[in-house]
């Protein structure tokens, strides 16, 4: 009975994993993209712009703002580090860089993540994992049969990250997410009695 329970648990785990194994959609050029248009009734574009700038500064430490066009268009670059884990063993095996763009208008904004490129890591002479190259391979590329399974994992991780990033961004835009500074605020415990 115990083994049947363990078997069912493992089966459920795999089913859950499978449900999350979706890839990103592709744009007209065949490149992976995560795109969303969001409406926030009544919020002026100036306030939305301020929130986008704040988000890029405060939320994801690996996201850096690169361009601002006027008060309504923003571009940033970011990366997610991919970890390979076998039981207790874990180390970075590569990173996926991406571009984030956001545009705002009165009462609405749109954003997208695109240009996903994979850069493998290797262990250098000092035992640190570092990028093997500066020019990544587009994540849409066919890696060949030998690396197909691992490559698909990278694509799945990019999709999961994009959903996570998008949710954080949307939450921030409606003031739902706490910033790291908020988290640092301490509750004062008084010892009066």
């Amino acid at each position: 009975m115990k083994f049947i329970s363990i078997f069912l648990l493992l089966l459920l785990s795999f089913s859950f994993c499978d449900a999350q194994n979706e890839l990103l959609g592709v744009d007209e050029q065949g490149k992976f993209i995560y795109y969303e248009l969001v409406e926030i009734n009544g919020m002026p574009s100036a306030q939305l712009s301020e929130k986008v700038t704040d988000f890029l500064k405060k939320t994801f430490k690996d996201v850096k703002q690169k361009e601002v066009h006027g008060d309504s268009s923003f571009m940033a670059v970011g990366k997610l580090v991919i970890n390979k884990t076998v039981l207790v063993m874990s180390h970075p095996s590569g990173e996926i860089s991406y571009h984030f763009r956001a545009e705002v208008k009165d009462g609405k904004y749109r954003f997208w993540l695109s240009n996903f490129n994979f850069i493998p890591y290797y262990r250098d002479r000092y035992g640190n994992f570092v990028a093997a190259t500066h020019k990544g391979t587009p994540l849409e590329n066919n890696p060949g049969k030998l690396n197909a399974v691992q490559w698909r994992e990278y694509q799945i991780q990019a999709a999961q990250y994009a959903h996570h990033f998008a949710q954080s961004f949307k939450d921030y835009m409606i003031g739902k997410t706490e910033t790291p500074n908020d988290r640092l605020e301490r509750t004062i415990v008084k010892k009066n009695w």
């Binding site: 493992l10 690996d62 970890n83 290797y122 262990r123 002479r125 035992g127 190259t133 020019k135 030998l146």
Partner: protein, 346 residues
């Protein structure tokens, strides 16, 4: 019981790939590699004895390499141990400070602690892979499996204390005090100074200008090595590397100089070809003549997950008979070999 064993084995086989969360604490990193090779020398002798891949017509061992790294706040450590010919007597000294497989070994490739005082300034102390040169001991960080004469002649490790400062994304500087080359303990005091200037003029191009100078215990003079190591990822598929070095021991006590160039082309993420062309000169001591060696190596990298196959063909020309190449018991000027290595990294 059998089911328990099966479940345990299944769990061991489960490797997961996940992206690192910003808020996750830094885990203990465990990584390493295993390598083995077959070499066939076309003169049917154990020629081309540059470090590693030196055993003729034999399926031979490289090493098993195990590395631990942990970062807690601003402090971190790295401990890397290796076992096997490549990771013991061929590249690291034993407890007595000599390269001898028959006596006990410390097995240590890296053992150091580091503290990042700021994002730009850090200090590191311990026993570290050398900062000099293009190629390294670990087969996972080299494109070719056999190694160059420059690699075999230069330092492998430097024990010492060093400070690193990053001026900008394009410039950083390391300077430090070091023991003699490749020793755990310096018997004539901390005797070497070294520095590395790192420049990244454009994205994808990094150059390291290295200097290491000092008088080793029992040495005839002060040895100074000047080294340029650079690599430029020119396109997504093409990378060009270069290593040039000059080592001189004062008072005409010899040294070496050489240049190696490394063009590499990735046809797919799983398959790449790379060439290494090298010219190497051994400086004569006193009135002794110089000797020169040239070498050409063509290697393939075929990757599948953590496994890399490295088929390789190499041609060496030793016009001054400094490398003792042999054929049918007689000395000759040239040697060539084929090797096939399998390197697994985890």
């Amino acid at each position: 019981m059998k089911i328990k064993i099966l479940l345990s084995l299944s769990a061991l086989g489960l490797a997961t790939i996940t992206y690192a969360q910003d808020t996750a604490p830094s885990p203990l990193q465990i990584s390493g590699s295993v390598d083995t090779y077959y070499k066939y020398d076309f003169n049917k002798a154990g020629n081309i004895k540059t470090y590693f891949a030196n055993e003729q017509n034999s399926i031979s061992l490289g090493m098993i390499d195990l590395a631990l790294k942990k970062t807690t706040g601003k402090a971190s450590f790295v401990g890397e141990l290796s076992f096997g010919p490549r990771g013991q007597a061929q590249s690291i000294p034993n407890a007595n400070g000599v390269y001898d497989e028959t006596t006990n070994s410390f097995h240590i490739q890296n053992l150091y602690v580091s503290y990042a005082f700021t994002e730009k300034f850090s200090m590191t102390a311990g026993y570290m892979g050398t900062f000099v040169g293009y190629e390294v001991i670990s087969p996972t960080a080299n494109f070719n499996y056999s190694t160059s004469y420059l690699f075999g002649s230069g330092p492998f490790q430097n024990a010492g204390i060093k400070a690193s400062y990053t001026f900008s994304d394009k410039v950083s500087l390391m300077a430090g005090l070091f023991n003699d080359w490749n020793v755990y303990q310096d018997f004539n005091g901390v005797s070497h100074i070294g520095a590395q200037l790192t420049i990244s003029p454009v994205e994808g191009w990094t150059a390291y200008l290295n200097v290491l100078s000092g008088k080793s215990a029992g040495a005839a003079g002060t040895g100074t090595i000047l080294d340029l190591t650079t690599a430029y990822q020119i396109t997504e598929k093409f990378k060009l590397g270069l290593n040039a070095a000059d080592y001189t021991i004062s008072d005409d006590n010899g040294g070496y100089a050489g240049v190696a160039i490394y063009p590499q082309y990735s046809f797919t993420p799983s398959f790449a070809l790379g060439l290494r062309g090298e010219g190497f000169k051994i400086k004569g001591v006193g009135a002794a003549p110089e000797a020169t060696v040239t070498s050409l190596t063509l290697s393939g990298n075929i990757k599948s997950g953590g496994l890399t196959f490295i088929p390789e063909i190499r041609f060496d020309d030793d016009k001054d008979f400094s490398q003792s190449f042999m054929k049918n018991g007689l000395g000759i000027k040239s040697a060539s070999q084929f090797s096939l290595a399998a390197v697994y990294s985890f």
